[in-house]
């Protein structure tokens, strides 16, 4: 098991004295999707800004592919290239009124030749499905379209790790499954390691391979989604909840004494459990 990105005892305190990270240690496996769960103010956004070098940790280490990261000024561009960050509100990220030019920004900053920048922009637009939006101004796009353009703007840097802060916030159900499908495709076709922060518990068992629970600037738990769902009290302490299906399984198991696995959190896992009870082969 190799980590694409790993932190050891990472601490960060804001200038006004608010401690945001108090020794965070976690790792995101290469080529996998790692979820970071946590209520509001748990430190998710601060952690991400540290990983990408916008903020510099006070102590602790970040390792990229096993090698410690340097936060020296001249090494920052390379760190920011390798760890791409997609912000929660695309209106914070898209600074240009021209879709094409906004996407090109990261690639131009890498100092690539023009032909290479154009190739990457075209490629990123095709992958995120925004080619048809190239002639539209940013302010005419829908929220979901802006989110795709923001992702394309990070893809042009060809990062090895892509971090997304609440990628599904503010999207309708169709938008959520479109964006998550896009992320799955990016992971599978480009092999990019994905880290995402979310409150949306129902997408966790569907898309995450590993999850960490961030609480008060510390990692409170980590493991596969199923492992975490076996500790619902921990989730509830942190203003989170079980996915709806896992909650149903918990009630069936604890209150009704039905012999189902409490960790079944997706429709297909629940279907398997129910058919098992009925002695039918799925």
């Amino acid at each position: 098991m190799s980590y694409a990105i790993e932190t050891r005892d990472l601490t960060y305190t804001y200038a006004d004295g608010t401690p945001a990270l108090k020794g965070v240690s976690f790792g995101a496996e290469a080529g996998k999707v790692t979820g970071i769960l946590g209520g509001n103010g748990a430190g998710k956004s601060t952690l991400f800004l540290n990983l990408n070098g916008v903020l510099t940790p006070q102590s602790g280490q970040v390792l990229l592919d096993g090698a410690p990261v340097s936060y020296a000024r001249r090494d920052l561009p390379e760190l920011r290239r390798r760890v791409g960050l997609v912000f929660q509100d695309p209106d914070d990220q898209l600074f240009s009124a021209d879709v094409y030019r906004d996407i090109s920004f990261g690639a131009v900053n890498l100092g690539l030749p023009e032909a290479e920048v154009r190739r990457r922009v075209e490629d990123a637009m095709v992958r995120t499905g925004v080619t048809a939006l190239r002639d539209k101004p940013t302010h005419a796009l829908s929220y979901g379209q802006k989110k795709r353009v923001a992702i394309a703007g990070v893809l042009v840097m060809e990062p090895s790790v892509m971090i997304l802060d609440e990628p599904t916030a503010g999207l309708d159900p169709q938008g959520v499954s479109d964006i998550m499908g896009l992320l799955r495709e990016i992971r599978e076709k480009l092999g990019i390691t994905i880290i995402l922060a979310t409150h949306d518990m129902d997408i966790v068992p569907l898309y995450c391979d590993q999850v960490y629970l961030l609480s008060g600037g510390r990692i409170a738990a980590g493991g596969t989604p199923e492992e975490l769902f076996c500790r619902p009290e921990l989730l509830r302490e942190n203003h989170l909840r079980l996915p709806r299906i896992a909650h149903l399984m918990e009630i069936l198991h604890d209150r009704d004494g039905v012999d189902v696995s409490r960790s079944a959190a997706t429709i297909s896992a629940a279907r398997h459990e129910i058919l098992g009870l009925l002695d039918q082969e799925p």
Binding site: V54, D92, S96, A97, D98, R101, F105, G106, R118, H139
Partner: protein, 259 residues
């Protein structure tokens, strides 16, 4: 926002903005510099025709935009045409309160119409540019024409974020109205004050987030981007020259026919 919406639909949308700027600018300068009524009318007609034929704009849209400055100009030119004339020979005159003679002289009429036609010609040249060139292309072209980078970057950021701020202010206003703000003058002033301060504070915070986002994409102090590929607009230079020649010919003809 007005002409900008047309620009994104224009047939000249993908054409290099620099020749478009030169065409509009040349026509505008010639129209303003030579004192000729006929050149003004010609510029208005020619640039409007180009706007419709090359840009593919709708005549209704163009007329809609021309109407606004036209109203102001007509009102503005009236006092030039109709004013105290003393003892000069008048085409039409009347006595005001029995003491002053007001009226229209041939000279004043010519002057008023000249101002009107020159201004409308200039306006149509600007509309040709702004209805066929999106703002972002225009700022990009300014940079190529060696306008200071700081100015260009500020223009671009302001243009992008003005839509967000306007949207935010609109939403706050609706929320205030839903709670009975703006009912009387005093309440309106209070609500407007709160709205402005909220928008200000929010934009400060947004500014911080935008800066973080720029940094995370490798921002080092200059906002350099690559525009989409433009279609060459060199043929527009030929058109620019043709229009300039026509303007000068019309000027010469006017001078000869009307002494």
């Amino acid at each position: 926002m007005g002409t900008d919406r047309c620009a994104y639909l224009s047939r000249l949308r993908r054409v290099d903005p620099v020749p478009k700027i030169w065409l509009a600018l040349t026509a505008l300068l010639l129209c303003v510099l030579v004192d000729s009524l006929a050149v003004g009318i010609f510029t208005l007609g020619a640039l409007s025709a180009l706007n419709l034929s090359l840009g593919g704009q709708k005549a209704g849209d163009l007329f809609h935009f021309l109407k606004v400055p036209m109203t102001f100009l007509i009102i503005g030119c009236l006092p030039i045409i109709l004013r105290p004339i003393g003892t000069a020979e008048a085409l039409w005159a009347f006595r005001l309160l029995g003491r002053w003679t007001w009226g229209v002289t041939a000279e004043n009429l010519r002057l008023g119409l000249l101002v009107l036609c020159k201004a409308m010609g200039a306006v149509s040249a600007m509309y040709f540019l702004s209805m066929n060139t999106p703002m972002t292309d225009l700022t990009m072209a300014l940079e190529r024409l060696h306008v200071p980078r700081l100015f260009v970057e500020l223009t671009e950021l302001i243009y992008r974020f003005i839509f967000l701020l306007a949207g935010e202010a609109g939403r706050i206003r609706v929320a205030q109205e839903a709670r009975l703000g703006y009912r009387d003058f005093k309440g309106s002033m209070q609500a407007l004050g709160t709205l402005l301060s909220t928008v200000f504070v929010r934009s400060l915070r947004r500014g911080d987030r935008v800066f973080s986002a720029l940094e995370s994409r490798g921002y080092t102090g200059v906002l350099i981007t690559l525009p989409g590929q433009y279609a060459s607009g060199r043929w527009l230079y030929g058109l620019t020259a043709a229009i300039a020649v026509c303007q000068l010919l019309i000027l010469a003809a006017e001078r000869r026919l009307l002494p």
